[in-house]
Symmetry: C2
Subunit: 153 residues, 2 copies
DNA sequence: CTTGAAAGATGGGGTGC
DNA sequence: GCACCCCATCTTTCAAG
């Protein structure tokens, strides 16, 4: 898919303001409504725009704790990886999960009500057949920044 | 702020589908439009809903590399922290930044076109007066999961 | 919480450049 | 490709009951 400056601008604006009206969007990118609308539709159909969502500030509704966790597995074959990854995907407390090179196999971000609840979750993982060899926990003391990619320079 | 089941349901739905119409939303939570709309407005004004945005699949539009970086500073006083944090906030390549307890001061996620570009960014940081004592880079080889909190159980 | 109503947006269509 | 009409239908927003 080939994107021009208009498309990038559309993405940039929609990323910040997903509920902007198509006419306002058209104004901002200096196109009229129809071509603008067709670009948006194209971006959605191509899967560049996967969907729209509200940014919910979790801090306003409940006390919670975030931790970052480095995890290494005992075994390094694809079934072990697959099992681990599917458990991560199915665990709502895990908000982010990345496979990494560089000493550990995975780095996760986990959100729970408190540290106890995190530790209980970890205990369940350790007791199950997930094959965790070792893990290291970093407690998040402050969230400085949280995602907003795409900024066309 | 006190949230009831309706509000949680609203948040859950809006998080997944931020462009749903208020009438559809009202249908789904089994309320009529106006009360539903007032709840949404209240959630927005209270800052529980911070905004709306398109979920953009960055992989569809450009090749890029994500790295996770652990950073420790030389000095641990608030001006050093503030300076570091403001640079992180102003650097678009940094998508996430967390202050942590547990051996390192910060953990970041950085997105660049390639590893070279990341390394150049790091070189700039090291040469500037940011006070980085040491850092460790984990290259993300696979993104397993990426954020979707709030799931009322 | 419900109804209702005005103002505006959507999603098409079509024409012409 | 784009812009500039039109138009029926739905949505938003805010009264008043």
């Amino acid at each position: 898919m080939q994107l021009d400056q208009y498309d990038l601008k559309i993405l940039q604006i929609l990323q910040e303001n997903g509920r902007i009206t198509k006419s306002q969007l058209a104004d901002e990118i200096h196109l009229s409504v129809s071509p603008c609308w067709e670009r948006v539709k194209k971006l959605e159909q191509a899967g560049v725009i996967e969907g729209y969502g509200a940014r919910v500030n979790i801090n306003k509704i409940l006390k919670h704790t975030s931790v970052l966790v480095e995890i290494s597995l005992k075994e390094h074959h694809s079934t072990a990886f697959k099992r681990f990854e599917s458990v991560m995907c199915d665990t709502p407390e895990v908000t982010d999960c990345y496979a990494t090179g560089g000493g550990v196999d995975y780095i996760l971000k986990v959100q729970t009500n408190d540290i106890d609840q995190y530790q209980r979750l970890m205990d369940v993982w350790l007791d199950s057949e997930l094959g965790i060899e070792r893990y290291f926990t970093y407690i998040v003391t402050k969230t400085i920044k949280q995602r907003s990619p795409i900024n066309n320079e």
